[in-house]
């Protein structure tokens, strides 16, 4: 109780351990404030500041990870509000790297559309802060605030291209459905708070573990269901996925990349933490629900992806299918009596890193092809890319093969980890469905490759590839291949997450 003590004593704040988030906040506020007070900066200067901020956050997260060491005990920051462990640092690092890559792509996009300015970058950094807060939150209210910071920035970013009607439409759709989902999530928080007396994840976990597992409080079950609905909207699980293709198609392409990487990583990290830290003792209640959601998401995502004609919509459905894969990891973690259940969380986090990098690289190529106006995203726009830009097409091919899960790419390592986790807790049905979905989804990536390599280009003119996008694509391809050939580079790190 706050008023119990005579004098108010604030919680101690460990600035260094919070530094990744603080650097991102500083970047966002600095850009918007200084940017508003000074005349237009030189070309690329706004992007450089934003990229430096995201890069610094990634480096700081890496340094904190190194300091924590292999056996560092998890701790909490600011009076139990944030958690500080391998899980949160891994997610923070992933978010910072994805933000950095997305900023590089955004730089070229804004230059092409003649809209260079500080606002978009500030919002990207703000969404990244929200993502970090979600991934680190150890309290449902902090999690809600992080979710809203992330979502509100996304609504604006999606609607940010005022010259394109689709952008505004997507922004409004995302805003209405996102607000709807947030309300469900918040109601879930209220009901869980009512039945456990706390919003702190650790405290909820201890309270529930102390109760008899057969004690099915209606308030708690309703609360857990509402939380799951809120999360399902945010990470676009079937049947809460309807907004995803529209928003992914309507949003400016670099923003689609940001949503696919930062948005997914943050929301999944929060989902994993809430269900494995606060609610493991009720795993028998939510495990089967997650199983059904995972099967529906895997199959519907893969099948609908195949029949699309717009590449951004295809990638939207493919992201739904990938979300199903990550959910398989959560399902594996729900078998708490099995000693291997911790594999579920670490494999899901490894998948999130791999997918977060892949999706930015893939959409960076799509953003180049989309051209001025950001509209040429049909499958036909990719025709003959192998003839006009062989190197770019080769990079895209590697990224698509990785998304399909072909061996010697990072996608295979990630998918293998998930299936292994699922099999080792004897969840065979889900493992089989996941592999089936991967096969169906492979067809979609092959369609894009066929149009790149086997179709004739509309014009034989070579497309210009701006430097920043070039760096982003090269970096993502490099990560994809390195993780593919040396899986232990990623898996040894992910194995520390428990």
């Amino acid at each position: 109780m706050i008023f119990a003590a005579g004098a108010f004593v604030g919680p101690s704040i460990d600035w260094y351990k919070m530094s990744p988030a603080l650097v991102l906040v500083a970047g966002a506020l600095g850009l918007i404030l200084v940017g508003a007070l000074t005349p237009q900066w030189r070309k690329g200067a706004y992007g450089f500041v934003a990229a430096a901020s995201a890069g610094a956050a990634a480096v700081l997260a890496g340094m904190l990870w190194a300091n924590l060491g292999e056996n560092g005990a998890p701790s909490t920051l600011i009076g139990d509000a944030l958690s500080f462990d391998h899980f949160s640092l891994f997610a923070t690092f992933t978010i910072a790297v994805a933000t950095l890559l997305a900023i590089l792509v955004t730089n070229d996009y804004l230059e092409r559309e003649d809209e260079d300015g500080p606002e978009v970058y500030a919002l990207i950094l703000a969404s990244s802060v929200g993502g970090v807060m979600m991934a680190q939150a150890n309290d449902l209210i902090v999690l809600f605030l992080g979710l809203e910071i992330l979502s509100l920035s996304f609504y604006l970013l999606v609607a940010s291209n005022r010259n394109r009607a689709q952008s505004g439409e997507a922004g409004l759709k995302y805003f209405i459905l996102g607000g709807f989902a947030s309300a469900f999530f918040l109601y879930g928080v209220a009901l869980v708070f009512g039945s456990t007396g706390s919003t702190n994840l650790t405290t909820i976990g201890t309270t529930l573990a102390g109760q008899h597992p057969g004690n099915h409080s209606a308030l708690l079950l309703a609360g857990v269901a509402m939380l799951l609905v809120g999360f399902a909207f945010k990470v676009s699980l079937v049947p809460f996925h309807a907004w995803t293709p529209d928003v992914y198609q309507g949003a400016p392409t670099p923003i689609t990349a940001l949503m696919g990487s930062v948005g997914k990583v943050a929301a999944f990290a929060a989902l994993l933490r809430v269900f494995t830290v606060a609610l493991p003792s009720r795993a028998d209640d939510w495990g089967p629900v997650v199983l059904v959601l995972a099967i529906a998401t895997l199959l519907v995502g893969s099948v609908l992806a195949v029949i699309q004609t717009d590449v951004k919509r295809m990638l939207a459905y493919s992201s739904i299918s990938h979300a199903g894969f990550i959910l398989v990891g959560l399902e594996a973690a729900s078998h708490i009596s099995n000693a291997d259940s911790s594999l579920g969380v670490s494999s899901a986090m490894a998948y999130l890193f791999v997918y977060g990098v892949l999706v930015v690289g893939t959409l960076a190529v799509v953003s180049l092809i989309a051209g001025k106006g950001d509209n040429a995203t049909t499958l036909g726009a990719f025709n003959g890319l192998g003839k006009t830009n062989p190197v770019l097409a080769l990079g895209m091919t590697v990224l698509l093969l990785a998304q399909a899960g072909v061996p010697t790419t990072s996608g295979f390592v990630a998918k293998f980890g998930i299936i292994r986790a699922s099999v080792s807790v004897e969840s065979y049905v889900l493992a089989v469905v996941a592999m089936l979905a991967a096969v169906i989804a492979a067809f979609l990536y092959l369609r894009i490759m066929v149009s790149m390599w086997l179709s004739e280009p509309a014009s034989t003119e070579r497309r210009e590839v701006p430097t920043a996008s070039d760096i982003a694509i090269a970096a993502t391809v490099a990560v994809t291949l390195v993780v593919g050939f040396v899986p232990s580079a990623l898996l040894d790190l992910a194995a520390l997450i428990r």
Partner: protein, 106 residues
Amino acid sequence: MNALVVVPTTTWYLLLSAVLFTIGTVGVLVRRNPLVLFMCIELMLNAVNLSFVALGRRLADINGQTIVFFVLVVAAAEVVVGLGIIVSIMRRRNGVTVDDLAELKG
């Protein structure tokens, strides 16, 4: 003989909150004007606020009321963002309903 005095309990407030939340949910699903959709979402958030206060009082926990202030700030920020998006679309065309926004499909 006792007069029939009905004292509202926490359950009443929770039920009222659930009813308000449901009205908001149904509103989002059936209405077509973006501004009304928007009001329905605000209604849902405020229904949750009522739950927080009622539950906080039942648990004798001040946090239930503290949380409401956070939610109010979030709701206010949401209004700013939402109205900004709606205005930018309205400038493009007049009298828009969400059914008119149907360029994105497939």
